[in-house]
Symmetry: C2
C-alpha cells in the first residue's frame, strides 16, 4: 500500500517541478554582489513557502555573511529532532555562452531539467522541503521534529557558517543532521556517502634576491628562486608519490579488513577511470584506486609560478617563486598539525640565503566519517533499500564537504547525506542539469526515512541520545 504522503507527492509532481523552476529563476549567485537581488529573491520565495507550509519561526539567521533561511516544526515531543540542511545559493553561470539554454531560465530536455543550481542544490533541497511540506499538508503534522537550515554561502566556502552555527547553537540543538546536499556518486549504483576527506591550504613564496637579475651578469654566482622552489617542491614526495613530509601521516586511521573488503566489493573499473581522463595510475603502492581516493591523504601542488612566462625567452635569473598547495586529509589527521608538519618540512628543506614565507590558511577542515553504526546512517540505508529496491553501498568522496566537519565541531552532531543529485550533473559548469527521475526516487526515500525516524521506536530514540545501537536495530524495520 502506497504511503498517502508519497501518493500526494506523486500527484503533485508537475507542481513540484514548476516550483523548482521558479526557485531556479532566482539568480542567487552568492560569489558576486552583482547578484544580490537574486539572493534576496530566493530568500523571499523560500520564506513565503515555508510559512505557507505551516513551519514555525520562519526567518533569516546571519553571522556577517549572506543570511541562511531557518524554519522549524517541533511538535513531536517524544520524537528525535533533525536539522535538515540545504543551500539556496548557486555558482556563477559563467561562461554563459557555453549554455544551450539560458542558465536562469530552466528548460526540460530528455527528462533532465537544465539550469544553474538545479542539481547543486535547489533540486535536492526541494525534494526535502516538498516532502516535509507534504506531511504537513496531508497529515497536519510531521512524525519527527525538524529544523530547516538553508545556507546562503555554500558556494563561497561557507565563510560564516561556523560563526552562524555557534551563534544559534541553542536554537539549532538537535539529534543529527540530514543533508540534502552532497551528490550521489554514480547514476548506476545505489550508494550512501559515509565520509569525505578534509582539506588544508598553504601558499609558499620564496625570495633569493632583491630583484630579478640578468642571467648573464649574475647567473652562476647567485641562487635562482625557481631552482630553489623546484627543489623544495620536489622534496615533498618520495619516489612512489607518497608524501615525504615527517609527521604527515601521523594519526591516519588505516582501513580495517572489513572496510577494505567492502570497498573491493564495489563495482569499479580502474582502467576506465584512467582512460576517461587520459591519465595513468600513480597512487601509493598497496592501495586500490578507491582506497587512495577515499582513505589516503594527498599533498598537491595546485599552482606554481615565477620568472618570465610570456612569449619567447627572457634571460632572467628570477628572484621570486610561488606555489599554492592543498592537502586532502583523512580521518585521524588534525589539519592544524599537518599544516605545521608541512611548514616544518619546508623550513628545514629551505637552504640559507633563501627567504621563505609560508601562509597556512586558517580555513582548514578535517576529514569526516559518519560513525559506522550511526542510527541515522543505518535508517537512511534501509530507507533507500526499501524505497528503491536496491541496498546502497557505502562510499566516500575524495573531495571535501566542510559542512559535516563544521557541524561536528560547532554543534557536536553527525551528518548523513541524503542528496539526490548525481556527480555527473555538471554543477559548477555550463549546462548543469538535474535528472527529473531523481525527484521520484528522492521523495520516496525521504518519505520512508521520515516515517522510520518517527516510528516511536524506543530503541531508535535511545541511540540518538548517545547510547550504543542495539544489535536488533535492523530488525526494527
Amino acid at each position: 500500500m502506497i504511503d498517502p504522503v508519497l501518493m500526494w507527492l506523486n500527484n503533485d509532481r508537475e507542481n513540484i517541478i514548476d516550483r523548482l523552476k521558479e526557485l531556479v529563476r532566482c539568480q542567487s549567485v552568492s560569489t558576486d554582489s552583482f547578484y544580490s537581488d537574486g539572493m534576496a529573491d530566493a530568500r523571499a520565495l523560500l520564506v513565503s513557502r515555508l510559512n505557507k507550509a505551516g513551519f514555525a519561526n520562519v526567518g533569516e539567521l546571519e553571522a556577517g555573511g549572506h543570511p541562511a533561511i531557518y524554519a522549524e516544526w517541533l511538535e513531536a515531543p517524544a520524537a528525535p529532532t533533525f536539522i535538515v540542511y540545504g543551500h539556496y545559493d548557486v555558482q556563477p553561470p559563467d561562461p554563459v555562452d557555453k549554455w544551450h539554454s539560458a542558465p536562469f531560465d530552466p528548460e526540460i530536455r530528455d527528462g533532465r531539467l537544465y539550469g544553474r543550481g538545479v542539481s547543486d542544490d535547489k533540486g535536492p533541497s526541494s525534494i526535502a522541503l516538498e516532502t516535509l511540506a507534504a506531511f504537513l499538508s496531508v497529515e497536519g503534522r510531521l512524525p519527527i521534529n525538524v529544523k530547516i537550515l538553508l545556507e546562503g554561502e555554500e558556494e563561497t566556502g561557507s565563510a560564516t557558517l561556523r560563526a552562524l552555527l555557534r551563534k544559534y547553537s541553542d536554537r539549532l540543538a538537535a539529534d543529527a543532521v540530514l543533508s540534502a546536499d552532497g551528490a550521489r556518486w554514480r547514476a548506476d549504483l545505489a550508494s550512501v556517502n559515509v565520509g569525505s576527506r578534509g582539506n588544508a591550504r598553504c601558499e609558499i613564496a620564496l625570495k633569493t634576491a632583491s630583484k630579478d637579475l640578468h642571467s648573464g651578469r649574475f647567473g652562476g654566482a647567485v641562487r635562482n628562486a625557481l631552482h630553489e622552489m623546484s627543489a623544495l617542491l620536489a622534496s615533498l614526495h618520495d619516489r612512489d608519490g607518497g608524501a615525504a613530509v615527517a609527521g604527515f601521516y601521523d594519526g591516519v586511521v588505516e582501513l580495517d579488513d572489513r572496510e577494505r573488503q567492502r570497498i573491493a566489493d564495489i563495482p569499479f573499473d580502474e582502467d576506465r577511470f584512467f582512460d576517461d581522463i587520459g591519465a595513468s595510475a600513480r597512487g601509493e603502492p598497496g592501495y586500490s584506486v578507491l582506497e587512495q581516493l577515499w582513505a589516503r591523504p594527498t599533498l598537491e601542488i595546485n599552482g606554481m609560478w615565477g620568472g618570465y612566462t610570456g612569449e619567447g625567452s627572457k634571460t632572467v635569473t628570477p628572484c621570486e617563486a610561488f606555489a599554492k598547495l592543498t592537502m586532502r586529509l583523512v580521518p585521524g589527521q588534525d589539519p592544524e598539525k599537518v599544516g605545521m608538519a608541512l611548514a616544518a618540512h619546508l623550513r628545514a628543506a629551505c637552504p640559507p640565503g633563501v627567504d621563505l614565507s609560508i601562509d597556512l590558511d586558517q580555513g582548514a577542515s578535517a576529514a569526516y566519517l559518519v560513525p559506522k553504526a550511526h542510527p541515522l546512517l543505518m535508517a537512511a540505508e534501509i530507507a533507500i533499500e526499501s524505497a528503491l529496491g536496491t541496498a546502497p553501498v557505502r562510499v566516500r568522496t575524495g573531495g571535501t564537504l566542510p559542512l559535516s566537519d563544521i557541524v561536528k565541531q560547532t554543534l557536536g552532531l553527525d551528518t548523513v547525506m541524503l542528496s539526490f543529485s548525481t556527480a555527473d550533473e555538471d554543477f559548477h559548469a555550463p549546462n548543469e542539469f538535474f535528472r527529473l527521475s531523481a525527484i521520484d526516487d528522492g521523495v520516496a526515500t525521504w518519505v520512508k526515512l521520515i516515517r522510520m525516524l518517527g516510528g516511536h521506536t524506543p530503541g531508535l530514540y535511545s541511540v540518538f541520545k548517545g547510547q550504543k545501537p542495539t544489535e536488533t536495530w535492523r530488525d526494527l524495520y
Copy 2:
C-alpha cells in the same frame, strides 16, 4: 704633440654632441613596427652623413629584416681591412612615464646625455663614425681600409644578421672586426672585454592527463604535472648548484693558472656585489665569483608555471606544466651538443605516464673568446693605455654578445670590442644615459688605434694574415 685628427675632434666636440642628439631623435625602435618611420629616419640620416664624409658604396644591406647600413673606404691597399660594427636600432622606450625627460628628446644633465639609445649604441657608434670621418676631413684619407656595418636588428636578437653576413660575405671580406658595441664593464676601471658566454634556450612542456582534474575526485590516484615538473627541474642541479646533466660540461675549457691569476688581480669586491642585489653567494665551489660569471656555464630556469595562479585557492590537480630554460655557455661547449645532453637528461628523468615535449631553440650561439695574442686585441690594449694613461685589464662578460660568434662562423673573423658605453648606463631601461666624458676617451682611443693599425708595420700586417705574432709586437709602438 697632439694628433691633428684628435685636435679636430676635440674642437668639433659640441657638433659631435649635436649630431648624436639628432640621431637619438630618430625613433629607431626595431622591435615594434609602430616605429618603422623612425628606423627609416635613422637610416636616411646615417646614409647622408656617410656620403658627405666621403665614404664609398654607401647604402643598405638586407636579408629579409631591417636593413643594415653599409659604407666603405678601401684606398689603403697595403694596410689591413677592418669591419667597424655598430647598430642604429634601439630598445623601446617603455615604460615612458618612468623617464625624467622625453626618451627621444635627448637632454644633458650633469655631464650625461639622457635619451633612448644614447649608450646602446648610438653614442659609441658615433665615436667610431666621427673619428673615421675626422680622418677623411683632416687628411683626406684613412690609414686603414674600413667597411662600416651598422646593424638594424641588434635589439631584436639579430634575427637576420647571420643570413646577411653570408649573403654579403664577399663584400665584407676583412682582417678583423672592431665593434663599437658592447659596454665597458665599470666606470672606475680601464678594461677590454675579451670574451662572452654563449647561450642556448629550451622550453619544456609536461602533460599528465587530458584535462585538469579535481583534486578531491582524483588526487592521490593520478600524477600531478607540477609534481613531475618540480622533480624534473630539481634533477638538473646537484646540491652545490652545479649542473647535474651528463655531458653538460663536456669540452669546457678550464682557466689556466695565468688566466686565474689575471682574474684574481682584478679589483672586485665580492661582498658588495652580493649586497647590491640582496643576494647571497651560490656558485660552484672552487671558483671565484668572476670565474663563475666568466668561465663557468650555467643552466637556469627563467620561468615556470602551471595550474592555478590566481587569487585564493583552487583544488585542482593540474595536467600541464611549463618551464623556460636558458644556458650560458663557455669556450669549448658546443651549443647543439649541450642542448642534446639536456634533452637526453630530461627524457631519462621523465617517468612513464608523463608526456614530455622539449623545444630546443635554434638560435643558440657559442661562447666567444678573442685569441689571447690577437694583434687587434693587443693593439686595442696599447691604444687604450696610450690614450687614457691606464693599462686596461682583460675582462669578460657573463652575458652573450652573439655578434662575435656569428661573425666568426659566417666570415671567419675575430671581433674586438671597443665600446665607450658603460654597463651602468641603464640601457634597456628608463633614463638611459651616456657619459659625455666617454666621447673624449673614445675619440682619443680610436684615433690612436687607427694610427697604430695603419702604421705600415710589416710585423703587424703579417699576423693579421694568420702568422704568429712576434715577441716584439709591443716594442713596435
